[in-house]
Subunit: 198 residues, 2 copies
Amino acid sequence: MNNIITISRQFSSGGREIGKRLADSLLYAYYDAEIIKKVAEESGFCESYIEKYSEANITRGYNYTFGQTFSTLSPSDQVQIAQAKVIRELSTKGDCVIVGRCADYILKDSNNFKVFIYSSDMEQRIKRCYDKVPADKNKTEKEMQKMIKSIDKTRSKNYNYYTGQDWEDMTNYNLCIDTSVVSIKQAVATILACCNNK
Amino acid sequence: MNNIITISRQFSSGGREIGKRLADSLLYAYYDAEIIKKVAEESGFCESYIEKYSEANITRGYNYTFGQTFSTLSPSDQVQIAQAKVIRELSTKGDCVIVGRCADYILKDSNNFKVFIYSSDMEQRIKRCYDKVPADKNKTEKEMQKMIKSIDKTRSKNYNYYTGQDWEDMTNYNLCIDTSVVSIKQAVATILACCNNK
């Protein structure tokens, strides 16, 4: 069975960077935006449509859980199904790190190691946004805080809607790391320590 | 400022063993049952009385939060105050690992590193009980499961009562480790990775 590490994360908590560094360190494949490209190829949806409906929004058809058919499904349900299919396919190709997209739940029968990254340091999270997206510098810190909280809220709703689980419930994960105190470098070393020293 | 690691833990999840190994590895003082002895010395309560009211039971006088006076307090409130005083004193003496007893909250202004240990593997937790307490072998697995859940429930209520926080809310901690997947040895290495590699 392949080694799979899934990383769920609060917005701008450093989860993506941790996932990338971890994959580089372990020589695992890294899947994040790549998933959107692959969903586009396989489903025929355009990338911006997938991005819109993958994590950022839920349009409700009826109460969907993974495993149902496509008919009468809302756009976000259709994107979720296509995305879940791609995630399952990628997980069979070799060892990998997958960021976000309910991958922890989708691959729950694949013995994946489930990590959650969070941070209570809003100042640090805002700074990370400013550093990564120059256009964000036009927004005030208050606007940034509102945006961060809003994205977290939507991710939480999305996760709950498609998995029936609470996004921030530690018992859904094997390791939860607070990057307000643990640095990115330490977080990578921390996850590696769980993969070694058996 | 001293380096302090507090370990909160589900019953029989391996938290105590992780704390002891961690303290040995870092050459830090280790405080667990020692706290009960010290509270007994300082308060005049006998050890069994402290044990009874420290984590296992809450007898309610009125809604107590750390910082109030002793008058009209219930036995568990009195033990909690004495215990909190001892924990604060111990934290000033040098680097240390402290297990349980709301130490994460009591020392929240001391920049302590807060760890939570949990396990969803009930079979493993029951086995750990049987291994550690030979007398428990007279109990059936069903009885053991009931006891484990009951102790967790009381710890949770106790924590919530004295801190106003949810015991199993990851955002109260800096690192949460699931010992159903992460071994004791790995968990120690994982915490060490957070203390090194800055």
